[in-house]
């Protein structure tokens, strides 16, 4: 088992290197590599993966494992391709001016690169935790050193390699989580297809800390389950650093800490009963000693310097065009507007107000519109809608089968905790942008696993067929969408 884990670590490192290498190569030859050329290469590589699978099928060497590898390969191709053909100022969020005079993500990175200092205020985006920006500026410095670029645009642009690497690593870690949950081959394939081709993992490749935050959440989930199985020093330390760096990336990683805390407590009670609790208590103390200062030092700094409260988020006010608090709670959280569901697959950023619909739409297209033949986004949208509903059914089913499979029920509980936190966040900050799925990307992984595991095991034949059909439609349309976009 340890070998498999080591293999995964190597895969993660390799994929990160591949991302940086791809970006560096593109930077060096960007005058010769056009966007259509990148898209053509993406398409060719995906066709190649499909052709390889067909060949395996013909030669009767087709196994689920091969298919999963091909899916991961295709997922990574899509992510790297998207990173290369999308400059940092396209489909961006809160970038503001690309200069140190701004207060957006770009200025944050440029401040670190050019002044070697953290922000000197907490205005606009400067209240954000610094880890992503630190790692981003390091990656940027490294790449721009190789390419000898002195254009500030590319200083900022290169930081998206961190997001891309995180997005690719999430895919690999998702495979590990599937193994932890002992998913059968077809179940794992279904789950990996969803994670590999879920567009929010492509769209997250921008200069924001969101996908790095998702990466740490995914790691935290994996190692919480591993810690429960084996609460040794290795798992405790990894978990401590994951939470430390995670919270240093974004405070919202702490949402998962509620779940980890419950797991700690359950395990501790169990060990107390067995009178073996003392070493674990010591390890947990070390966990706290590492994770708390690592995660919260920036908050303490900002509190001392700017009296910034813990958990502070930028307020837009009721007069903002994005304010949705004038709609009833039912319209926002319970009953979707069917006219809105059927009118367009894209979010109307200024008008949409239903959390579920906004989340599904933004998970597929962000807050943007694309000029592609309309049938592609519609297929993607319909299949995503069906998958979302099936995922909720699967989560409920997992809770229903609590006695048979406690681990899967726990995964369902993770989703519930996260969803509650999303609702609370939206109640506190009732704005269109608060509903964007980029803050909830983490949910894809547990929901994909629940969907694959519960519906394949307990679903009727019709449900299974619907699931296969939707996953196939979802994957194909996602690829087409982001190759043609």
């Amino acid at each position: 088992m340890n070998r498999i884990h080591e293999k995964k670590y190597i895969q993660c490192i390799l994929v990160s290197m591949a991302v940086i290498a791809a970006y560096t190569l593109w930077s060096l030859f960007k005058n010769f590599i056009s966007v259509p050329m990148i898209k053509a290469i993406m398409a060719e590589l995906i066709v190649f993966a499909a052709a390889y699978l067909i060949r395996c099928g013909i030669k009767k060497q087709f196994t689920a494992d091969t298919a999963i590898k091909a899916v991961i390969f295709a997922g990574i191709v899509m992510r790297i391709g998207y990173m290369l053909y999308t400059p940092c100022n396209v489909r961006s969020h809160d970038m503001w001016e690309i200069s140190t005079q701004g207060h957006g993500h770009a200025a944050y990175i440029l401040g670190l690169l050019q002044n070697n200092s953290l922000p000197q205020s907490n205005e606009i985006q400067f209240y954000q935790q610094p880890f992503f920006y630190i790692v981003g500026s390091v990656a940027s410095k490294l790449i721009n050193m190789i390419t000898s670029s002195d254009d500030v645009f590319y200083f900022v642009d290169a930081a998206k390699t961190v997001s891309c690497a995180a997005s690719c690593m999430v895919l690999i870690i998702a495979g590990s989580i599937c193994d932890t949950f002992k998913l059968k081959d077809t179940e794992k394939l279904a789950a990996m297809l969803i994670v590999a081709f879920q567009p929010c993992f492509f769209l997250s490749i921008r200069v924001t800390p969101d996908i790095l935050c998702t990466f740490f959440m995914t790691l935290a989930l994996l190692f919480t389950f591993r810690w429960h199985a084996s609460p040794d020093w290795k798992n405790t330390l990894i978990l401590a650093f994951v939470y430390g760096f995670g919270v240093m990336t974004k405070i919202s990683v702490a949402v998962l800490a509620f779940f980890t805390a419950v797991v700690f407590a359950v395990k501790l009670v169990q060990l107390i009963k067995e009178k073996k609790a003392l070493p674990v208590i010591f390890r947990l103390a070390v966990f706290g000693i590492i994770s708390l200062p690592l995660g919260l030092w920036y908050n303490v700094r900002n509190y001392i310097l700017f009296s910034q409260k813990f958990g502070y988020v930028l307020e837009l006010g009721e007069k903002s065009k994005l304010y949705v608090g004038n709609h009833s709670l039912f319209q926002r959280f319970v009953i979707p507007d069917f006219n809105n569901i059927l009118s367009s697959p894209y979010d109307y950023v200024w008008d949409d107000y239903n959390l579920f619909v906004y989340s599904v739409k933004s998970s597929l297209f962000g807050e943007f519109e694309f000029e592609v033949p309309s049938f592609i986004p519609i297929i993607l949208y319909i299949s995503a809608m069906v998958l979302s509903v099936l995922a909720v059914i699967a989560a409920v089913s997992a809770l229903k089968h609590f006695t048979e499979d406690k681990m899967t029920a726990a995964l369902s509980a993770v989703c519930a905790v996260f969803l509650v936190s999303v609702v609370i966040f939206n109640l506190r900050y009732p704005y269109g942008c608060s509903m964007d799925f980029r803050y909830s990307t983490f949910l894809i992984i547990p929901f994909a696993i629940l969907l694959a595991k519960q519906l394949m095991r307990y679903g009727s034949k019709i449900t299974k067929n619907m699931l296969y059909m939707c996953i196939a439609m979802f994957s194909c349309s996602s690829c087409l969408m982001y190759i043609l976009a």
């Binding site: 039912f330 319209q331 697959p345 309309s374 949208y381 319909i382 059909m469």
Partner: protein, 779 residues
């Protein structure tokens, strides 16, 4: 067109749902000719007549369809035998494409129908030849998927009136078109996969799970109607009455009035004694609406009247009409600009601070300033007429005072009854709403007894009555002086007595016993029709139920010939009950007309007014913000706001909205499907009764193109509650389900109480917690 598509979608869904269930039954051997005729009526005639206008092309498509059906059925018969032919005919009838080709009158669609039928026939030939052992029903799911695909594809195209090329343009998002296409492609893929599977030697898996069709769960204990039920009735009725009469309406309203007209007494000049800044005038208009006035202020320097507004309309009768007027003045001139006679009961002058000012010459107009204390701080529903009360309440007042009759678009009985309240409590909000409240309250025991009769169980009866008590629309209609609640009680009685008759006939009791129920049913029908013509819809429903019950009895008792003497006697009773009594009651209801307009006797008035009513309702079309279509009623989409008054200084509003309890309406849809299943698959006669009753109250609205509102659905809601009772009764954990339903319904009733009762509620609460849908705007 949307209406036809939705109707077709629902009809096809129900058919295929029941068809799949029926296929499981070993006794199923195709559909009878009678059933096929009903299907034809439902799927060809109804959609055609749902169209507002029909062209020659529609009729040509209709005629072509008959030929195609005949050809297809014959071909199917040759391929699949007699049973197969009957089933194929049903499947043909429930295919959306031919229906769409008829309603669109589109030759291309007709050609497509021909091609599809040919393709299906070719496919069947292929299956018969190559896969002899594979039953055709193996492909039922694929067929349904294909059919649904076609339906969705055309839904987008026809409802948006766009071509396919326009639909697939980048700026359009034809969700249904893509969904339809995907479904059609997938159905072909699944069919191919199944065929490949069969060829490879795997047995064609039956997609339909076989399960034995058992008889409907009848109640285990048949209890007698004893003390317990009486106690239930008393408690529920008392609680409901308390809720209905709670702040029903003010016992006071300005009564004394002065008559004005542009000819004669046309002016009012008010002298406030000194110059004051006034903010508004509030004028309580008596009988006769739409008074037109001109307002002016006197300029003492120029010694001239300055016109402020020449065209102010006082629209609502027996209501405070606000006239905003931001002026600093001493003299106010009010001139009536139309020759019609208007009655003004009271005028209130309000200054900028909100104080009521009394003109120093108020004694010149004693009737206009003698009841100033009746001027409310906020003119909520409590102090004035709301929605159609301006017609029905006012006309009831005219009936009572032998005045010319204003509202004559409905038969007079309902307004005659409302006038009883006015006679007892005066022309006040309480007075004109009293009879509605009484009728609404009386419906509770009737519903209880009906539900008990249906189930013979006090729990189910309690469930029915409790749901009815917490039904929003029942509550709102009980608190407004309109005729809808009155006709609803009579309709409920009609169905109840008809149900009692079917019970008697089922138990094979003697004719006199049956006749009692028929006579009572006839009287209820007469009263209902004399109140509102919607009673006729219910009459159609009871007619169907009656004929089915009688036919069933005769078939079980040796045929029609053997029962000829029974049938002739029954015919006599029916003539008296359903023709003679209604004709007499309907004519008598026009007595008031003959007293006011002596040129005709009451029978002549009944006939001439009925003709006028028919003409009026045929083209009563007007844009209204709260109008809604029949399919919107099913999901409670557009509430009707009877009264809205803002109370800005307290941040609250007073709203009276007419709409259904969402729990009851949504559960009702599920229970409708369940009852259909109970009827068609389990042979439950109660379910049959309820389904026919529901459809009879709903179906007529499919063919009506005038402006309609959600309250027209109230007749259906009464039946929905009974259907829920029947469904719950057939559940395994019926008691628990009933308790949960009552608790949820009560919770919703309490939650929504402010917007259905009109009591003042915090605006934030209404906006944040009660406006569930974008169309639910309660302010």
């Amino acid at each position: 067109m949307i209406s036809v598509f939705i109707y077709m979608g629902i009809a096809c869904f129900i058919f295929f749902f029941l068809f799949r269930k029926k296929l499981n039954s070993s006794s199923f051997n195709g559909y009878s000719l009678f059933e096929l005729s009903v299907f034809y009526l439902l799927m060809r005639i109804c959609p055609l007549f749902m169209l507002e206008e029909r062209s020659m092309m529609n009729y040509i498509a209709f005629a072509t369809d008959i030929i195609l059906i005949a050809a297809a059925v014959t071909a199917f018969g040759k391929l699949c035998g007699v049973a197969g032919r009957k089933t194929a005919a049903a499947l043909c009838l429930f295919s959306p494409l031919p229906v769409i080709s008829i309603v669109c009158g589109n030759a291309v669609y007709t050609l497509a129908v021909f091609i599809v039928i040919t393709a299906i026939l070719a496919f069947i030939c292929f299956i018969k030849k190559k896969f002899r052992k594979v039953p055709l029903r193996t492909f039922l799911n694929e067929y349904i998927l294909f059919t649904a695909g076609g339906y969705f594809m055309l839904l987008d195209k026809e409802c948006l009136s766009l071509s396919f090329m326009e639909l697939v343009a980048a700026d359009k998002f034809p969700v249904f078109t893509v969904l339809g296409l995907a479904a059609m492609v997938l159905s072909c893929v699944f069919t191919a996969i199944k065929l490949i599977g069969v060829r490879k030697g795997r047995t064609a898996e039956e997609s339909i799970v076989k399960e034995a069709c058992t008889e409907s769960r009848e109640p285990l204990v048949h209890e007698s109607f004893g003390r317990k039920n009486c106690l239930h009735i008393i408690i529920l009725t008392a609680v409901y009455a308390a809720a209905v009469f709670f702040r029903l309406g003010s016992f006071e309203a300005p009564q004394s009035s002065m008559k004005f007209s542009s000819v004669g007494n046309s002016e009012i000049v008010l002298d406030l004694g000194e110059y004051v800044s006034i903010s508004k005038l509030d004028i309580f208009l008596g009988s006769n609406n739409n008074a037109k006035i001109a307002l002016s202020a006197y300029n003492e320097v120029d010694r001239e009247w300055i016109l402020i507004d020449t065209d102010v309309a006082l629209k609502s009768v027996f209501s405070w009409n606000e006239v905003p007027m931001s002026w600093n003045l001493r003299y106010i001139g009010i001139v009536f600009t139309e020759p019609k006679e208007y009655f003004i009961n009271e005028i209130v002058v309000v200054d900028k601070e909100g104080n009521v000012l009394t003109p120093i010459n108020s004694l010149d107009y004693p009737e206009l300033f003698d009841e100033q204390e009746k001027y409310p701080e906020h003119a909520t529903y409590y102090y004035r007429t709301m929605f159609d009360e301006v017609y029905h309440g006012r006309t009831a007042y005219e009936f009572y005072n032998d005045l010319p009759i204003y509202e004559n678009t409905h038969p007079p009985l309902g307004k005659t009854l409302i006038s009883l309240g006015i006679a007892s409590f005066g022309m006040t909000p309480f007075g004109w709403r009293f009879v509605s409240a009484v009728f609404g309250t009386l419906m509770v025991p009737v519903m209880y007894i009906f539900a008990w009769k249906l189930s013979r169980r006090s729990e189910t009866a309690f469930l029915g009555a409790a749901l009815f008590c917490t039904e929003f629309m029942h509550f709102t209609l009980s608190r407004i002086a309109t005729i809808d609640i009155i006709v609803a009680l009579f309709i409920l009685l009609m169905f109840f007595f008809m149900y009692c008759f079917t019970e008697e006939i089922k138990a094979d009791r003697k004719l006199p016993k049956q006749s009692v129920w028929l006579l009572l049913c006839g009287i209820s029908t007469a009263l209902a029709v004399a109140t509102k013509w919607t009673g006729i819809y219910a009459a159609a429903g009871i007619a169907v139920i009656f004929f089915v019950a009688v036919a069933e009895r005769c078939v079980n008792d040796g045929g029609f010939r053997k029962n000829i003497s029974y049938l002739s006697k029954l015919f006599g009773v029916c003539v008296v009950s359903f023709i003679l009594i209604p004709a007499v009651v309907y004519s008598l209801s026009y007595l008031q007309f003959s007293e006011v307009y002596t040129d005709k006797n009451f029978v002549e008035h009944a006939i001439s007014n009925s003709v006028n009513m028919l003409n009026y309702h045929s083209d009563a079309k007007a844009e209204h913000p709260y109008q809604s279509e029949w399919y919107e009623w099913l999901v409670d989409r557009v509430p009707l706001l009877d009264a809205v008054t803002a109370v800005p200084e307290r941040g609250s509003i007073s709203t009276v909205a007419t709409f259904g309890n969402p729990l009851i309406l949504i559960c009702g849809l599920a229970s409708f499907l369940h009852n259909f299943w109970l009827w068609r698959c389990k042979g439950c006669t109660k379910a049959r009764f309820l389904v026919i009753a529901y459809l009879s109250m709903l179906m007529p609205w499919l063919f009506i193109h005038r402006t309609v509102f959600i309250y027209q659905y109230f007749g259906c809601i009464m039946i929905i509650i009974l259907m829920i009772c029947n469904s719950v009764m057939n559940l395994k954990k019926s008691k628990m389900a009933g308790i949960i339903l009552i608790c949820l319904s009560l919770q919703l009733f309490i939650m929504f109480f402010p917007v259905i009762s009109g009591i003042e509620a915090n605006r934030g609460y209404v906006q944040q917690y009660l406006e569930w849908l974008p169309t639910w705007v309660f302010e």
